[in-house]
């Protein structure tokens, strides 16, 4: 179980290789990568800034990850979330779960990103032609998290 909150970019290939290295019981890897889009709510987005709550953010991510391990037979998992100033196309988040079989790996990955979006203290601010705006939380994200019970 690994959680990292960082300004630096991450290399997906290198992170996944490190996650599974030396464990040949792993038969499947579920992966989600979130990227900065250049449009949101019909408006062009030229840049994004991500704020977090140092300490609480890491604690929440670790708690979410522990919950995934309690629900599915995972061999390894990884959450990396970036903060600071990002540009369209940049990586925001990497979630990966390794298990013997695909279903646990895929389900746990979906669970982690859905829960992260509603529980982990991060806030996005987007730069648009009309100025900077804080991104509003979406009810569809709450619904996505709620389906996991």
């Amino acid at each position: 179980m690994t959680v990292r909150v960082q300004e630096e970019d991450f290399d997906v290939g290198r992170e996944l290789a490190t996650l599974t290295a030396g464990n040949h019981a792993i038969g499947g890897l579920g992966v989600f990568v979130g990227l900065v889009r250049d449009i949101a709510g019909g408006q062009a987005v030229s840049a994004m800034s991500l704020e977090h709550y140092p300490g609480m953010t890491e604690r929440q991510l670790e708690a979410i990850e522990r919950e995934a391990h309690a629900r599915w037979p995972l061999d390894a998992s990884l959450i990396i979330h970036r903060v600071g100033d990002l540009m369209p196309g940049d990586n925001i988040v990497l979630v990966a779960c390794a298990s013997a079989h695909r279903q646990a790996a895929l389900d746990a990955t979906g669970f982690l990103i859905d829960w992260l979006k509603t529980k982990a203290p991060f806030w996005k601010r987007e730069d648009t032609p009309e100025g900077a705006r804080w991104v509003d939380a979406r009810e569809t994200d709450d619904a996505a998290a709620a389906r996991w019970g």
């Binding site: 609480m56 979330h81 991060f122 806030w123 804080w134």
Partner: protein, 83 residues
Amino acid sequence: MKLMYFAWVRQRIGTANETVDVPADAATVEDLIAWLKTRGPGYAEAFRDTRAIRFAVNQEYVEPNHPVAAGDEVAFFPPVTGG
């Protein structure tokens, strides 16, 4: 008591964190908010609609009726939008 503000709550209040002596009768998070709203227009604007705000005491999510005490770290922020 250490107070922390994030995202638009921080912008409206004009500071990221502050250490304050709160009145003795501010026993819960909602009491604390009622007192904070009297501290200036930025506070009043930030806490105008408390349904739009989430709270954490000592880095754990809590409900508005959660008790607060001197020495606690209390955070106020909008619903989260990471991922």
